[in-house]
Symmetry: D2
């Protein structure tokens, strides 16, 4: 940590602040110039609250040098983490594809889609049972009935199921019934939910918030991991920017960034990012090329009749074509699907 | 609602879509030009999911004309809502000031600050007991003990207390013990929490999310109101932009915008927006001038020793000066403090 | 300047970089910890290109401590600059109001508006002759004929004229004919134009770019000042964010920020920021309350017939009312209009 | 164009506005519901200024249905444009790679790099002679001397040269000496410069502005094309967002979006977008996978000694490796390099 003091801060004040900081267990190295006074803090600064230091009137600014995440940090865990879900892995050489409809609608629908996506190479089934919707008047999902339908689809296809949780009240039910618990973008900083999930042993798919920085995403992963659950998969799904042509702006640079900063696997959601079905193909290809460990793609047997997000869902046939192309790109970057 | 079809869509397809939409209870008026085909939808379109329509391959775009919020909408409730909290009102001619420390720390601290802010004109006491922090390793608040200290401060000063909730598990405790329940920016779209709060009768202070549009803020208020609880106060606290000099960018245009769209009271948090104590004064003045119904300001008796956010807290003396100036500006815009 | 090196950088590499940096005229103070190696650079770092240092593979990051602007910096010029334009000042106790139509349209129009705004208290007349439009097919302004009409309006009212330049080719004509040359948001980093304007003696009204940081705005002012022309007025006119209800998001925090960083006067354009005429009043009030040195407001005698930007122009009668209210707020913050 | 009127607008006002709009050459189709009044405008609406309509007090909003660009619009030019520069094409099956240093520094440097990038497959040489820098005190490029060095490099390698223009004063010199004139991000809406370039016959490489929407980029291309010069190549180089880990956020969704909206070729600049040399490789791969027509990459023989932007430049050896990988990905998406 680097503390910049105001020019002309007196030696007395520098010493006072130095003693105060050293009493908190760090070593302080002062660099004193005519127009610049810096305190270089060495040691365990992770428990030092920067805003505590910034409240000192002689402090101009506090600059972070090291990342605040420990368990998610590649520095302390150099090899890639590989998460195992009932024998299916995410994070190794193989690129994992999670596919399925936005919402679980009917038994027939979810089974049809599940069989199709399995046939074309998906290794996980997604499907929303609890749906976060901007409007209280929109369809909110089939809820517990949806979970039951997902279980039937799992039974028939063997695909592990991935679905979103919205309330800590449901953790027990999810823990018993689903394979991967998704935390949606809007709940990425629902710290209470993250803490509760940290107490489970389930794999958590943590989506990046609409306006979350890469570091904040990793800090939210850290909340889960600090609780003891290190089975975290990250997901880039577009950030909010001024551009309105696409629903969100898919930040593919986040993939190499996360790979450098963390050992956790990271996948990409091209469906939600763009909000346009015809963009899923090029964005999925780009995601594999850029180094993502997997994809989560919305597939619906009849997008026009989808109960929600039909405009971003692709049909099974297109999914099949995309998978074929992805295999070649995966190979070109030393991976396989 | 306006549906734009692709140029050259056949009459057959137009008729098919028209029948489909009319079966959902709206009247469809087509406008057909050579390069432009529009369907004007009249009637109750609030239950019509735009993404359902957009999934139709002949649909170019769906445009909203009316707002999606009903209970929060000024159109159906032209007069300003005035929320009453134990005899203190927010939303009328009087500008309400909520003040207090970021975190409740000790009995002495909270009582000292409470007495000071009351003396200088605050009508509510704020203080964080449960703290949403980016890092799991930062101080997370005194929790239930903090609530107890707030109650003591209320007892001694008579000021109603405002504090943030982070989990639906705590609703019962908050309902019994606090006067205004704050929903923080990070939980603005924690729809599950909003729904639960909609079942209570408590006043809810709903903060705008870091990347939430004004419409989304109003939709989140609608979640609470749809549940039956119409005691909602909105709060602008800065949005996330590219500018890094301030922590967030205070969007004061949101105040007249919200006043036009909704009847709910809206207040401003100048402390969190800028993240710099010396900006609280000019921003508070601007907030009153722009038409805000209140302010929420961080005041600490010893900001340098604050356990969090000390850099944005002001001392009671400065608070006193600011209140004096605000009184004159309030008068200039036909209000009082 | 602070240079963070990668952990485990060898002493040899540290020494090599130190020698390299010292050869460029700065003093290097190393702070060496087990997980953190910092070089504190003291001396004149303004000519040191940070990207030159960052290209070194052992460098993790370069952090700026001091601002890069010199002539615009309050540190080296503590008192507020007051710019004099033909006896009208911007930057002192008096808040200056620049008003007039978006575009100069006809002699009658510009004279009518000029007389009206003068009557109600404006001290400068604005009017676009050269118009930057997103589309090449939109009205581009009356150009040189517009300048002539502005001159007639100045003759009849005595108001100095403020108008936008779009090309370095026109500097001579502007220099001879207008009183304040405006650089629009889209040209804020048209460095070539800024350099040419730096060679003149005219007052320059420099608008903040749509996505320019406060520091970048000040650096653009520095371009003009470095050329020898220190008559620069800054203008906050809204930045581009994700919010779409307003055309741009007026960043009023930029006013106290600029006041702290620089001695240059800064004014606010509430008309362009919001893009809605009914927001001009509350935003103008907020701008005065927050500490702006002036306002630039679009006034049109017949907004419905305005050739451009009619939706954000106010009528002279409303302008008159706003001016009356602003006088009270100005007084409340120790200023006058 | 769709005009939404305020609810309860009188028939008289509707008729008045209708007549007014029809007098401007469009046909107006009204859709009148109890809570919604829409005017559907059919015909040539391109010359109708939306803000003119919005200035009418009965108008709630004006919505665009068709794009404002004509010459850049794929609707009127369905096949991809292929731009020919001295026999090298951009826009067809072949993916073109432009490579070279950020700045031209010395004859030896530019010739060394030019030979290297040619050897490894680049078909154009880039190199900055006029440099847009945030600070007036940073190195501003070798200017005309730099152009001369680029010409020597072209002579020795046969590579056409691509370099940035900053002033309309230089158009003649650029027209005579360079092969592709680059318009930088900061000048994307320097409309005056665009108009002047529209009068030439040169190929223009138009970079997207930091906060420009895709539509605005296409409108700026339209400025050049409206002048008669249809040789425009677009370039995505990252947009400004809240994320600070990367310098800008590369918006790869813009590639399929532009491909849908326009027939112009579009390339990607992975070097400037991220600002980190180690991200060039994954982002270049993603750009090819997503469908870009080319890449512009910074290559320097000695990045540590580069006079600017060394931290984002790659060495010729890495460039060679990247080109090898890109060939496989290009093939996977039906292209070649």
């Amino acid at each position: 940590m680097v503390v910049i003091l105001k020019p002309k801060t007196s030696t007395e004040e520098i010493n006072k602040l130095t003693r105060d900081l050293e009493s908190k267990g760090v070593t302080v190295n002062p660099v004193i110039g005519t127009e610049l006074i810096i305190l270089g803090l060495v040691g365990d600064t992770s428990k030092l609250d920067p805003c505590y230091i910034e409240a000192n009137p002689y402090v101009e600014r506090v600059m972070h040098v090291q990342e605040h995440f420990k368990k998610a940090n590649r520095m302390f865990h150099p090899e890639d983490s590989i998460i195992d879900v009932n024998g299916n892995t995410i994070g190794g050489r193989k690129i994992s594809v999670i596919a399925g409809p936005c919402s679980v609608e009917t038994e027939e629908q979810i089974i049809t889609v599940a069989k199709d996506v399995k046939k074309y190479g998906a290794s996980f089934l997604r499907g929303g049972a609890f749906k976060p919707r901007t409007s209280p008047y929109s369809f909110q999902g089939l809820k517990y009935d949806g979970l039951e339908l997902l279980k039937i689809a799992r039974e028939q296809t063997g695909l592990p199921i991935v679905t979103e949780i919205m309330s800590p009240y449901d953790i027990e039910v999810f823990n018993e019934n689903v394979d991967v618990i998704q935390v949606g973008a809007r709940n990425m900083q629902n710290f209470d939910l993250l803490k509760e999930l940290g107490k489970t042993n389930k794999t958590i798919l943590l989506k990046r918030g609409l306006s979350a920085t890469i570091e904040e995403l990793l800090m939210s992963a850290e909340y889960i991991m600090a609780g003891g659950n290190e089975n975290v998969i990250l997901c880039e799904r577009g950030i909010r920017t001024f551009e309105t042509y696409t629903r969100n702006t898919l930040d593919l640079s986040a993939i190499p960034a996360i790979k450098k900063l963390s050992h956790l696997p990271v996948i990409v959601d091209p469906s939600h990012a763009a909000g346009k079905w015809w963009m899923v193909e090029p964005l999925a290809k780009a995601a594999v090329a850029v180094g993502a460990d997997g994809l989560i793609i919305e597939v619906h047997n009849d997008p026009q009749k989808a109960w929600c997000d039909g405009q971003q869902s692709i049909k099974p046939e297109l999914f099949s074509n995309i998978m074929d192309d992805l295999r070649i790109i995966a190979e070109a970057v030393g991976r396989e699907i």
